[in-house]
């Protein structure tokens, strides 16, 4: 990413130009996408929908007659109920630490299965910030970076997904993933994500997820194809699902911690 922003900078200083264009794309046959999750102490939710044409602004077609169930490594299981528009929800089983979950989705006699584990939850120990001089500084306004301190479990192959929200917006501004490999043997870990910066007026909310290796891989791949800024030369692809071959989406089991910060006047 660092490299890409550099090439953009050079492009930028030589009057590069970005514009939204019309382009003809093929419409692929609709394909099922599974967006499933179970969170610590919460019940499972699964969203089933089909792909639409790329520029479509309409709601996708939803899968409303699937059989969706979740089971854990202790042999408990539950069938999720369809609540409308392809959203299936559980009501009994809640996410527990250390438990591995398997999601099963059956559509037209075809069954897709995938599993994920809730690892030791992380905690945001502190959330600070520092002034950021910028990659060349785009404007007059001062920018800031976060300094994040998380609790780590050095005995576990754990991973983190951090979502950054600006000013109570519903969707995160961006996210980043971190691997335990960078922080071996440490009880607490500290890092400063360079990809996310904010200004004085912003209220920043951080959600730190504790995730397993599969989820880390999936979000790493997802990040590459939804954030193509400046790159674009590497070959795009569909992130690899844990629900089987020839299917889109992912099922993850996770926990999270959340904290908010704002710049204090000096």
């Amino acid at each position: 990413m660092f490299f890409l922003s550099l090439s953009m900078l050079i492009g930028g200083s030589l009057q590069s130009c970005e514009e939204v264009i019309d382009i003809d794309l093929n419409d692929a046959d609709p394909k099922l996408s599974i967006d499933g999750q179970i969170t610590l102490n919460e019940t499972a939710t699964v969203q089933l929908s089909y792909t639409t044409s790329y520029f479509s602004e309409e709601e996708p077609q939803y899968e409303e007659s699937a059989t969706v169930s979740i089971s854990d490594s202790e042999g408990n299981s539950e069938t999720l109920i369809h609540k409308g528009k392809g959203l299936y929800e559980g009501s009994l089983m809640r996410g527990q630490v250390g438990m591995e979950y398997e999601l099963s989705v059956t559509v037209e006699e075809k069954t897709y299965k995938g599993s994920s584990q809730i690892l030791t939850p992380t905690e945001i120990l502190s959330l600070g910030y520092e002034k950021f001089d910028g990659f060349g500084g785009s404007g007059d306004e001062e920018e800031y970076n976060l300094i994040i301190t998380l609790k780590n479990n050095p005995n576990e192959e754990n991973y983190f997904l951090i979502k950054y929200y600006l000013n109570d917006e519903e969707k995160e501004d961006t996210y980043s993933v971190w691997s335990h490999e960078y922080f071996a043997n440490e009880e607490t870990i500290e890092f400063t994500p360079l990809r996310f910066s904010f200004t004085k007026e912003d209220v920043v909310t951080l959600v730190a997820y504790s995730i397993d290796e599969g989820t880390y891989d999936y979000y790493s791949q997802l990040e590459e194809i939804i954030d193509q800024e400046g790159g674009g030369s590497s070959t795009p692809f569909n992130p690899e699902s844990n629900m089987g071959e020839n299917i889109l989406g992912y099922f993850r089991a996770w926990s999270f911690d959340k904290q908010t910060v704002q710049i204090e006047e000096e």
Binding site: N26, I226, G230
Partner: protein
């Protein structure tokens, strides 16, 4: 067994040749041809007898050897841009003749002024070894005020630009890592500065270059698609002189001269860009930002005596980018030591020791640093044996020890474990022999054989992987133990049939084996790409190419025309599994998919070489596709290097002695790319859905550039000139990338965004010479 048999068959052929050359009493004339003014050795000077039945050319070191019947002989020495010289000799013994050629501009009343041998392209055996001298390059429009040899060759048929501003180029459907780029025989692993906007070759220090895209001679090897052989200038043997230029983005200075008159000379050429200073001035970037490159070429040239000559040359270049304590740099270092020795007037020897290194590094300030690179140490011995007027043999051997540093990430914080991808070592060795044989007056054959061997050495692991990139087994090898070996048998054949004085037919076949692979996530090439050896998991790439061409000159050789077709099959070309992370990936080998490729095409080329109006039109029609298990269901798909149409029109008009205007227009079909054919929602994101690789096309690319060259008035020995250029004159917003993303204000709306790098870019350069 089959391999051995083939070798013996070829050797037997060579014996036959040498036996046929006896009979008449003959003597050899030999020596060097140099520029009368500078003492610089001239490459590719044609030397022939009055009846034009016997001829030769000077080699890379300006040396020639010609064996002809005894008695009265008239010998002609001719070279583009120089006056042809004629020597009358009475040949009674072997004779050494040193020739000094005068350039056309400085008319002196010497020997003879006759027309040069303009039909060289018809007579030369070389299928497609296109020679470009700096005079041609000087006349072309410049990009950002810098002449650029790599940009120039991309205007030739069969050689195409991969991406705007990039220096990576593709030759006849080959990938960018399949081009062997040599600077004074040292391989240059990354030929670009400033994200590819400049090449590393400083035009002031370059004598000339030759590009081979087919019929590649047996003395070259190691890359599958092409050879770009660039020669640095030797330095003026007669007098001290300097040249330079001051441009908007970069400035340069070259100094050269004799250390011992006519015996020893030097040349030093430096260049530095100041894009960062300019951008700071325009408030485009922050005060702490660095963004520059520099390079230095240096060469020492010592004629010890008529039979011995030493050259020491080097290149050092670096790009540096930084913001505060974050930074990135990359660069090449090459060094070449050569010894030319004449064993006899017919046996020329060149011994080379060379060193080449490429590395890049990131600096993450307090966090740590990262680096990666490749290092070569190489020994080479080449012989040219001018056996008889009809046979010129070349043979030699070469051994290169490669060390690969795929990458390491060192953290400042000692509690964090460093990431190190294991270093790899390999020895690449080869022997070759070739013969240029004249059969009668019309037919010339150039055939040869190169046998190559590649050994990867320990310490290291041969790792087996399953389909999900998990390690199945690791076999450890001690330091120095052979981990993997590969062999290559590379026949090369070229044929030139001279139909008459105006036309010739050329045909060639070559097989090339490539043992090195560039791991890259992009098609255009980036400084962060990493070189890898062939290993237990990655096999060498082999290419077979067949090529046929027709060459014809019109209107007293004023126009040259050629039409060539080629067909190429490629084995073990590489692509990656979906979503492969190339950088710092210890298991990168498991993500490489290998398969086959094919490319075929037709190239048309019309060139006007003489007169006030000069230039060329080049057109290439081609198709390149790949078939790799694991991609697009194992079906054939368009290669990223597939360009259906590729057109270059290059023109230059000399209005007066002091004013010339040049323009070029470029058009090519957009690259094959992967675009989405749908989308879906995941965790609040609109995710593009892809159905096939390279199923779409970028928009076609076209551009017009203009350059006005003004020569200043001569004041004594000081000369100056101005170049005013406009890049992309009609401000065509060509697509550099097309990205698919959510609309910033409304995440439910998805859009395609085109990024263009350059609109119209003006530049001014002031050049001087003294």
């Amino acid at each position: 067994m089959d391999f051995k048999r083939q070798i013996w068959a070829v050797l037997a052929l060579f014996f036959l040749i040498t036996l046929t050359a006896i009979a008449q009493e003959k003597y050899t004339i030999s020596g060097e041809v140099i520029d009368a003014e500078t003492g610089e050795a001239l490459i590719g000077v044609t030397i022939y007898t009055a009846d034009k039945t016997v001829g030769t050319m000077t080699n890379t070191y300006g040396f020639y050897s010609l064996t002809i019947p005894k008695g009265q002989q008239t010998i002609f020495y001719s070279f583009v841009g120089y006056k042809t010289q004629q020597r009358q000799i009475n040949l009674t013994a072997n004779q050494s003749i040193k020739i000094q050629l005068q350039t056309n501009q400085t008319a002196l009343n010497e020997v003879v002024v006759s027309a040069e041998k303009k039909d060289k392209n018809i007579a030369a055996t070389q299928m497609t070894g296109e020679k470009l001298d700096m005079k041609t390059i000087d006349k072309l429009p410049v990009l950002f005020g810098e002449r650029d040899v790599l940009k120039t060759i991309q205007l030739l048929p069969g050689i195409s630009t991969v991406s705007e501003g990039g220096n990576g180029f593709s030759v006849r459907g080959g990938s960018i890592d399949q081009n062997l780029i040599l600077l004074d025989e040292a391989p240059v692993y990354s030929a670009s500065h400033l994200m590819g906007f400049f090449s590393v070759f400083n035009a002031d220090a370059i004598k000339g270059m030759t590009v081979y895209k087919s019929g590649i001679p047996a003395n070259y090897g190691g890359r599958a698609a092409s050879v770009l052989d660039i020669t640095m200038r030797d330095g003026n043997m007669k007098k001290f002189q300097g040249a330079g230029g001051i441009g908007l983005l970069a400035s340069r200075l070259t100094l050269e001269g004799p250390i011992i008159q006519d015996k020893m000379s030097f040349i030093v050429s430096g260049r530095r860009s100041y894009a960062d200073l300019m951008a700071k001035g325009a408030n485009q970037i922050d005060g702490d930002t660095q963004m520059y490159f520099y390079d230095l070429n240096a060469k020492l040239n010592w004629k010890i005596n008529d039979n011995n000559r030493l050259f020491l040359s080097g290149y050092f270049g670096k790009d540096d980018f930084g913001f505060d304590d974050l930074g990135m740099d990359w660069g090449n270092t090459t060094a070449t030591l050569r010894w030319n020795h004449l064993f006899s007037s017919q046996l020329f020897s060149n011994t080379t020791a060379l060193y080449s290194e490429y590395d890049y590094g990131f600096n993450f300030g307090d966090n740590g640093s990262m680096s990666s690179g490749i290092k070569d140490i190489s020994l080479k011995q080449d012989f040219s044996w001018y056996a008889s007027p009809k046979n010129t043999l070349k043979f030699g051997l070469n051994a290169t020890y490669h060390t690969f540093y795929p990458g390491e990430f060192l953290f400042e914080d000692n509690s964090i474990s460093d990431i190190k991808v294991a270093e790899k070592q390999a020895l690449e060795s080869s022997i070759y022999i070739s013969n240029e044989q004249k059969l009668g007056t019309q037919l010339t054959l150039d055939y040869g054989l190169r046998a190559s061997m590649f050994n990867q050495f320990g310490a290291g692991n041969n790792t087996s992987y399953d389909n999900d990139n998990n390690i199945v087994e690791k076999e450890y090898f001690e330091k120095g133990e052979v981990m993997q070996s590969y062999y290559g048998f590379e026949p090369r054949i070229g044929l030139n049939y001279r139909m008459n004085s105006k036309s010739s037919l050329k045909a060639s076949y070559n097989r090339m084996v490539q043992y090195l692979h560039l791991m890259s996530n992009s098609t255009s090439g980036q400084p962060t790409d990493t070189w890898m050896p062939s290993t237990f998991n990655i096999e060498p790439t082999t290419v077979n190419q067949y090529s046929v061409g027709f060459f014809r000159n019109f209107m007293d050789n004023t126009f040259e025309f050629s039409a060539e077709t080629y067909y190429k099959t490629m084995n073990n070309i590489s692509d990656y599994k979906d979503g492969t992370q190339v950088m710092l990936n210890e298991d990168i080998e498991s993500y490489v998919l290998q398969g086959e490729g094919r490319s075929y095409g037709m190239e048309l080329y019309l060139k006007k070489k003489y007169g006030a109006f000069t230039g060329w039109i080049s057109y290439t029609l081609s198709n390149t596709d790949n078939k790799i298990e694991g991609i697009n269901n194992g079906d054939w798909y368009d290669s990223s290097y597939d360009k259906t149409h590729d057109v270059s029109i290059v023109t230059s008009y000399q209005f007066t002695d002091r004013v010339s205007v040049s323009a070029n227009w470029i058009f090519y079909t957009g690259n094959a790319v992967t675009f989405p054919s749908g989308k879906y929602e995941f965790d609040g994101n609109q995710v593009p859905y892809y159905t096939e690789r390279n199923g779409y096309r970028m928009p076609d690319y076209h551009r017009l550039d203009l350059n006005v060259h003004l020569e200043g008035k001569n004041k004594g020995r000081f000369r100056s000139s101005w170049d005013f250029s406009l890049y992309n004159l009609y401000n065509q917003m060509n697509a550099y990338t097309i990205n698919f993303r959510e609309n910033e204000n409304n995440p439910n709306v998805t859009e395609a965004v085109k990024l263009s790098l350059f609109g119209i870019v003006p530049s001014v350069t002031w050049n001087f010479k003294f």
